[in-house]
């Protein structure tokens, strides 16, 4: 199925954004202390859909919140009663503006695990009720390598509507999914016309320009293959020696999905929470009996990087990394998953 493309300019796009914000529940990057996070907005002035990639948090918490209540319960000597939690605030129909391509792809990658073995209906419901507007970056940042990983620019359907800048201030608005197509039909961009035949060409040119701005490039198929053979490599230890195990990489990662369950109980009533965890955390695999199958830091790093580049790829056909580079930006000691996996892939196979 082919989808429509509209052409407009900066003003037209702003008007479209304004129309969306006035009609729908809208989330967009909002600046605070120099960092951007996705928040509910009521006017275009308070947000910035073109926020810089390095300063923007992942969109993951809008689908998989940092902490959420699973159940409420009452446990007395008479027995235990389970109560429903409050209504899910993130499940309603909504629009997210200014999602980066890497972030949008992260959600697509996460969907695979959420509808596998156990069906996470909350995640899927939030996702199916959300229309994602994604702006393609014009320039890569220091740690970006998104186009190196399963990135198919022609058939990218991670976002519902893609926005691409063309030459002479032109802006292309392109529906990428049926949901996006319907949404654009109901909310037409003011002043937009059917594009000239050169639209495809110009978008391609923008992508080529974007491609040349990458400092980091990776042949992921080669990395997948080589990493699978290097489980016992000492390279994991060498590459991650200066990691301080702070876990911030997992919290800001668009694809990490480890979580923990904890109970908060006061007298007879309690709440059961699901909140983020990280496989880099020393307590993550600590068993009740005291045994820890991953006691050393490099083993936890091995699990993290092998899961991202080998196991997930084998099971779902995509890498569990979208190359956004946020982990390297937030890392207090500047470790990049890019460097770790490349170091391992380049290591000799003999131990």
């Amino acid at each position: 199925m082919s989808f429509s493309t509209f052409v407009t300019d900066k003003n037209g796009l702003q008007k479209l954004y304004e129309a969306i914000i006035s009609k729908h529940e809208t989330f967009a990057p909002v600046e605070k202390f120099g960092k951007y996070d996705y928040k509910k907005v009521s006017s275009l002035e308070e947000c910035d859909p073109d926020s810089p990639i390095a300063m923007t948090m992942s969109v993951k918490p809008l689908f998989f919140p940092r902490s959420s209540k699973i159940i409420k319960y009452e446990a007395t000597s008479a027995g235990t009663t389970i109560h429903e939690t409050e209504q899910d605030q993130l499940a309603g129909p909504r629009v997210i503006l200014g999602v980066k391509h890497c972030d949008a792809r992260g959600l697509q990658v996460l969907e695979a695990v959420n509808k596998w073995d156990y069906i996470d209906s909350d995640f899927l419901k939030r996702r199916s009720n959300t229309v994602i507007f994604s702006t393609r970056c014009d320039k890569a940042d220091t740690h970006c390598f998104c186009t190196s990983l399963d990135y198919d620019v022609e058939n990218l359907d991670a976002m519902d509507v893609a926005i691409v800048s063309g030459p002479d201030g032109k802006i292309y608005i392109q529906a990428r999914t049926e949901k996006g197509e319907n949404f654009l039909n109901q909310n037409p961009a003011p002043g937009s016309q059917s594009p000239a035949p050169s639209a495809g060409e110009e978008m391609k040119k923008q992508y080529e320009g974007f491609m040349t701005s990458f400092r980091l490039k990776m042949d992921y198929k080669d990395v997948n293959e080589k990493m699978a053979k290097r489980f016992d490599s000492t390279a994991f230890e060498e590459a991650t020696r200066n990691c301080v195990s702070c876990n911030t990489c997992a919290f800001i990662c668009p694809t990490c999905h480890c979580f923990k369950i904890s109970d908060e109980k006061i007298k007879d009533t309690g709440v059961r929470y699901k909140s983020y965890d990280s496989c880099n955390n020393v307590y993550f695999t600590l068993e009740a009996g005291g045994h820890n199958p991953r006691p050393a830091k490099y083993r936890r790093w091995r699990q993290r990087s092998m899961h991202k580049f080998v196991y997930y790829k084998e099971r779902f056909g995509v890498n569990l990394c979208v190359g956004c580079g946020h982990c390297a930006i937030s890392c207090p000691v500047n470790i990049s998953i890019f460097e770790v996996v490349n170091h391992v892939a380049a290591a000799p196979t003999e131990v």
């Binding site: 605070k32 202390f33 960092k35 996070d37 948090m57 918490p61 940092r66 902490s67 220091t142 400092r215 020696r241 200066n242 301080v244 195990s245 702070c246 876990n247 911030t248 997992a250 919290f251 800001i252 909140s275 983020y276 020393v282 050393a296 830091k297 937030s330 207090p332 000691v333 500047n334 470790i335 460097e339």
Partner: protein, 189 residues
């Protein structure tokens, strides 16, 4: 402030004399002019060591890691780092006789944009307080200046102060990275 050469010489001598098992220092990150901490166990790698005003991270944090626990460690500390190291020593987290400490008479470090750090502007102890060897000329202790922001915050009422902190912590994602990157939050990892 460039002590790269001196630190390389000291580190290779320490390895040659079999005085340390591990050396913790800084090296270039490999793609721009910023630095990352490095944990060296192979004497051949000491050539990578550097120390300039871009050497920001507090290395005493590495004394709680697997690589250094129970080993003889050489490390570089600035004035501020040495105070946290001193606290670790006082609280019996590390043994002094297992450490070889290179103290720096620090002139202040800069952030990744080259701006001098705010903390360094208000630094009162620029010289290392605990060391085996000192690099640079000690400048002595300065008078304590109360940070202007703190004075302003202290003047606020309880409700306002609460609002201030709620505003600040609105950005918190509860990853607890602050805890793990803090040398004094040393609950065993």
């Amino acid at each position: 402030m460039d002590y790269s050469k001196q630190i390389q010489d000291i580190a290779s001598k320490l390895f040659a004399d079999d005085k340390i098992d591990v050396f913790v220092g800084y090296c270039m990150n490999g793609f721009d002019d910023n630095q990352v901490p490095v944990v060296i166990t192979d004497p051949k790698e000491v050539q990578a060591l550097v120390f300039t005003e871009k050497s920001v991270f507090n290395l005493s944090n590495y004394l709680k890691a697997d690589h250094t626990r129970g080993k003889r460690v050489g490390l570089v500390v600035k004035g501020c780092d040495s105070r946290s190291l001193n606290l670790l020593l006082t609280e019996n987290q590390v043994k002094r006789d297992k450490l070889y400490i290179i103290g720096i008479a620090c002139e202040g470090v800069v952030d990744d944009r080259g701006q001098k750090m705010q903390n360094c502007m208000e630094c009162i102890v620029p010289d290392a307080v605990v060391f085996d060897e000192m690099l640079g000329t000690p400048k002595g202790k300065k008078d304590y200046i109360v940070n202007a922001d703190i004075t302003e915050l202290a003047a606020k009422g309880l409700v306002e102060r609460r609002e201030y902190f709620e505003e600040i912590f609105d950005n918190c994602i509860r990853c607890n990275a602050c805890r793990h990157s803090c040398p004094l939050c040393y609950d065993r990892l």
